[in-house]
Amino acid sequence: MTGAPADADNPVLAAIRTRRVVRSMGDRRVSRADLETVLDAGRWAPSAGNRHLQRFVATDHPGTLRVLRMVSPGMIARPAAVIVICTDWALAADFGFRPDVPGPWIDVGTAAATLMLAAHAIGVGAGPVTSFSKAAVATTLRLPDGLQPDMIICLGYPAPGGPAPVRRGRRVTWQDLTVFVP
């Protein structure tokens, strides 16, 4: 593809193309209204069978955020708020999912993508974290049995600094990732 894409004015596609993982966040807090806007978007994320097996646990409490970062090696940013995407495995069992099947985790991904795009749409930076102790995070958030934390979405306003993104050679294009078949 050369030059500007023909659909450059499409706001959804523009949001998809301009969203970046934010790894350095400042002290400015994320308002409760903005947090609720992002959470409302999460409710609209694609969910297999419309089952809604995911639950969102949100916090902007400074002490809780500090502990979450301490037990999350992958959390580089110091977020102003987080949304923890959890899977309700008790509910999943009611639908007949065994605990070792990957199906419910796919919806964690769709929820994460939706939450991060929603944050980007209202000018809030977001970044996902999967490297954390699930046991420690569940304890920190006082989660009930059966509710498993699967991904943390950090939220905050971008700040200068922070690590450079991982570069693995040249920028990947859609053609690199795609094969057309008859």
């Binding site: 037990v71 090696p73 580089i76 490297s131």
Partner: protein, 104 residues
């Protein structure tokens, strides 16, 4: 606690690092092997940031310089030879610091 010399880490800073190391041990069981050195270097970098203000000039210089030579998210897979060479450089600088401090 009285009678104990002031250290270079506060208890909170030490707990921060301790939590990072323990939880990294757990997450590494499930993660790509290339994250292993990344986590260790992040721990070293955080320790360096915590101790720099209360350390000797030589130590402060090391943690602000060579220890940060590798990009924070660098992993061997993105260029193993360069990664190893840069890490070897950090190890040499560290050895020089230690030799000056303990063996000269």
């Amino acid at each position: 606690m009285t009678g104990v010399p002031a250290g270079v880490l506060t208890e909170d800073e030490a707990l921060d690092l301790l939590a990072y190391l323990v939880t990294s041990a757990r997450t590494q069981v499930d993660e790509a092997a290339e994250y292993g050195p990344l986590r260790l270097l992040t721990a070293a970098r955080r320790l360096g940031e915590a101790i720099a203000a209360r350390s000797s000039d030589a130590t402060a210089e090391f943690v602000a310089g060579p220890l940060t030579a590798l990009p924070e998210l660098a992993v061997p897979q993105a260029g193993r030879a360069e990664y190893v060479a840069r890490l070897d450089g950090v190890c040499r600088d560290l050895a020089a610091l230690l030799t000056d401090r303990f063996a000269s």
